[in-house]
Amino acid sequence: MFEFLNQDTTIQTIITVGSMTLFFVGFFGLLTQKHFIKIFISIAIMESSIFLFFIGTMFKKSLTAPILGDGYTTFTNMNDPIPHAMILTAIVIGMAVLALGLSFSIEYYKLTGNAEIDKMNELRH
C-alpha cells in the first residue's frame, strides 16, 4: 500500500516537513498563548519536534537498531547510536527544566494569584 511513499528521499521529506510543522505549532503556541501551562506545553512540543527531526533524519530504513541480538552478531549495518544517546540526554534535561518551571509557576500563582505570562508585573517599579 502506498509504495511510492517508501523511497528514502520521500521518507526524508515527510519527516522534515512533519517535524517542522510540529515545530511551527510549538512556536505558534509560544508566541500566542498566555497561560504558564500552555507555554510549557508549547516549549515541550518544540523540543520533541526537534528530537523527531534528528532521529528521523539520521534514520535509514535499510539499517537496524544499534543493539545486538536476534541473529545480529556484529556491529555493522546499524543506525548511528550517537543521536539516540543525545536525545536520551536531552529528553531527561527537558523534563527536569519543565518540572522546575512548573514548580516555580505553582509557587508564583499561590503568592500572587496570577498564572498568565503577560500579567507578570511584580518587578519594574
Binding site: V25, I41, S42, N79, I91, M95, S105
Partner: protein
C-alpha cells in the same frame, strides 16, 4: 508501508499538537499533549530507536504528564 505509517502519524500528531496548543480548557490540552508524546513513541520505534522510545514512554508520556496534571491542580482550573 513504512512511509505511509510515518506520514499518517505525523499528520495525527500535528493535528493533536495544534489542538493541544489552542484548546481553551487546560486539562484538555494536557491530555492532548500526552497524545503527542504517544505519537512520538511510535515514531521513535519506527525510526529504529528503541532506547529513545522507551525513554519517551516513561518520561515524555508518563512522568511529565503527571507533573503537568499536578501543576494544573495547583494552578487552578480556569479559563
Amino acid at each position: 508501508m513504512i512511509g505511509f505509517i510515518i506520514l499518517s502519524i505525523f499528520i495525527a500528531i500535528v493535528i493533536i499538537a495544534f489542538s493541544a496548543v489552542t484548546q481553551k480548557k487546560l486539562a484538555d490540552s494536557i491530555i492532548l499533549f500526552m497524545g503527542v508524546g504517544l505519537g512520538s513513541i511510535v515514531l521513535f520505534f519506527v525510526f529504529q530507536a528503541p532506547d529513545v522510545a522507551l525513554t519517551e514512554a516513561v518520561i515524555g508520556a508518563g512522568i511529565s504528564s503527571v507533573i503537568f496534571l499536578m501543576a494544573l491542580k495547583h494552578l487552578g482550573v480556569q479559563r
